[in-house]
């Protein structure tokens, strides 16, 4: 008799030195309002720390927000660390000020989707629900 509902778990954090956190806090609240459990790790996280936390918290999704231009290096490192820890099944998402021409590069690194400034909260929610659903079914 299992009545405990499985909930989507998401780690949201800001890698690097970028301190602009309005956007990520909005997304965190939207995900909570959609019924998800969101671990918010704040600003100035190292990629190493984010990946370790994602593993300890057994999240479905790791979402990072970067508005200061370090997205290519940081996301490459995050994706590499996830693979090294055999945790590439955790879906990596990026958001923030990201030039459109960088999106293919990010996806090649292993970022599953990119939500640029102007992205709609409901699109982010819907995408996470979809990938978490695929992950649970796998």
């Amino acid at each position: 008799m299992s009545t405990a509902q499985r909930r989507i778990r998401v780690l949201m954090g800001k890698p690097g030195l970028c301190g602009h956190d309005r956007g990520i806090v909005l997304v965190v609240m939207a995900l909570r309002d959609a019924g998800m459990e969101v671990i918010y790790s704040g600003r100035h996280n190292s990629p190493e720390s984010l990946v370790e936390v994602a593993i300890q918290e057994d999240v479905d999704v790791l979402g990072v927000s970067i508005l200061a231009g370090g997205h290519l290096g940081l996301c490459e490192r995050l994706a590499k660390l996830l693979r090294e820890r055999n945790a590439q099944d955790i879906v990596l998402l990026a958001g923030g000020f990201i030039p459109p021409e960088d999106i293919p590069k990010l996806k090649a690194f292993g970022v599953r989707e990119v939500f640029r400034d102007g992205a709609k909260l409901e699109d982010i929610v819907q995408f996470i629900e979809q990938v978490a659903g695929e992950r649970a079914a796998a």
Binding site: A4, R7, D33, E37, E52, V53, E57, D58, N86
Partner: protein, 319 residues
Amino acid sequence: MGDRLGGSADDYVAGILRGDRRSIARAISAVENETATGRAILRNIQRHLGRAQLIGITGAPGAGKSTLVSALIGEFLGRGRSVGVVAVDPSSPFSGGAILGDRIRMERHSLAERTFIRSLATRGHSGGLSRAVVAVVDVLDAAGFDLIIVETVGVGQSEVEIAEIADTRIVVCPPGLGDDVQAIKAGILEIADILVVSKADLPLADKTELDLRFMLSVRDPSARQPAIVRVSSVASIGITELADSIDARRDLGVGKRGIGSRARMRRLFAQEAANLLRRRMTSIESPALDALCDAVACGDIDHEQASLQAMRLVMEGCR
């Protein structure tokens, strides 16, 4: 659900005992979600339990609990101990979602090898929150952590319930929240083994300590006397004393999970039985229960007798 780790309960148990972090994390999800695998994991680790010292930390929002936990992790790692943390935050009653932010204060330990931190939302666990917490603590205990700290927001019955399961209960009292009357109202004096006056670098901390000492002095002298420790996590004041105080309880033999485990088990049974009963009694279709409600309304039977009868009815309905 077969995943890369094999996914069988035996694989998880082997991984937990090895201290493999991915296995520990996934096993925690399985026990928290009360899956069949999760239940099997719990059964199979029971005989590996009892080594950890379990510490409960509670206090009002903003009291400084997470920052204190972070300081304690550093102190105990320095003493050669490994530390597991379960940080409990409330789920939204509206969406069921949660924002779990306690880790932000513990960021500097997230890469420490002998530390494992897990955030837990209070979501409607069918066996009650404390059973879910005990299950997560069990996994960390089996994984060999010497010290396990459970952090909860001290506002309600479930937190008091969690305090009941800990070997050492710490209540964090920040300065400036109110006068001595608040201390009696909250009932914090009853559950605490150690009272921590947090933010001791602030001027009002003297007053808070004085209030607590006064309230303790006017209590029944035969009641258990909690220790009072002043702490400032940011100024690194009192952390050593607090850790000493925790160690002293372990050395006295009261600080180990194995001690008094029957009494603790009974308290857990009581909580879980009450939860089960509440769920069934409020949801079951039963003309007999309805008749009982009417009988109370007419004054034919008193509340206590009716409750006992209702309990019997529900139990019989379960068979």
